[in-house]
Amino acid sequence: MSNYYINEAVFELPERPFDDKTIHGLEAKLPNGKTLGVLVHRRPIEGKKSLRQLVDDNILLNQTRLSAYAVLDEAETSIGGVPGIVLRTQWKQSGTKFYQLQAHVAVDAQSSKGTYMIFATSGPLEDQAACDETFDSILKTITWRTE
């Protein structure tokens, strides 16, 4: 049996394949009434794509579905001891500029069950500081399951 963790609990799943399509979405109201969002997304790594290729594919996807999507800067960094790529991005929606920080990680990339994960925080560009604070907290404290 494998353990599955949600924020409130842990439980066992039978030994059969499960494809985890969960998208985590957390929202906080900022003092100005705007919303700060945290998103965690995962999907199996297709073929033998590198993290760099996965990130580039994701950038292309966002460029086609979001208005004025731009990568402001990017850096390779360790995310809880796992190699990752961090991006600062922005786009426009209904006249508002949005800001998003993304951490891209390939978990268990060497195994057949490798998972591509994205941790993102986003909000209006004017709330960049709150996004940065939340994202930094995630990056500095993330610990991966080892069992």
Binding site: M1, I6, P14, D19, D20, L26, T141
Partner: protein, 142 residues
């Protein structure tokens, strides 16, 4: 800072009063048929409303939305010490009979629903998965 757990990791979030809108969805392939699904939803418990009232209202709403939705069993039992209502249901989807198990739990200030759904012919697999979840579930105590 509160720690937030996802299946692969845990991290700290600043104290900004985050509301968790996550919808967990896992799918397990079944032979020659649609997959079995596991959904976990969470909603803040409404002050003044019991878990029974919330579940009854949801069942009534589901009966209006979902073809052939019928509750065949309704049991109240604690899940790792938290009050819970466990349902067994059937419904029709994609022109096929489906089978569903639901566990609704009041945990602290949250109404959590664990829902396993699959084709009726695969009800034994659904039961095995659901029972495993319910009997092994352990709440975070930190």
């Amino acid at each position: 800072m509160p720690n937030y757990y996802v299946n692969e990791a845990a991290f700290a979030l600043p104290e900004k009063g985050f509301a968790d809108r996550t919808l967990h969805r896992l799918e397990s392939p079944l032979a020659d048929t649609e997959p079995m699904g596991l959904e976990i939803r969470r909603v803040a418990l409404e002050p003044g409303k019991s878990l029974r009232q919330l579940v009854d209202a949801e069942v009534a709403a589901t009966k209006l939305k979902v073809n052939g939705f019928t509750i065949v069993e309704d049991v109240e039992l604690p899940i790792d010490g938290a009050p819970a209502i466990v349902l067994r249901a059937r419904l029709r989807a994609l022109d096929m009979p489906y089978y569903q198990r639901q566990a609704h739990v009041a945990f602290e200030k949250t109404w959590l629903s664990f829902i396993v759904t699959g084709p009726f012919a695969e009800r034994a697999t659904c039961d095995q998965t659901f029972e495993r979840i319910v009997h092994s579930l352990a709440w975070r105590r930190d």
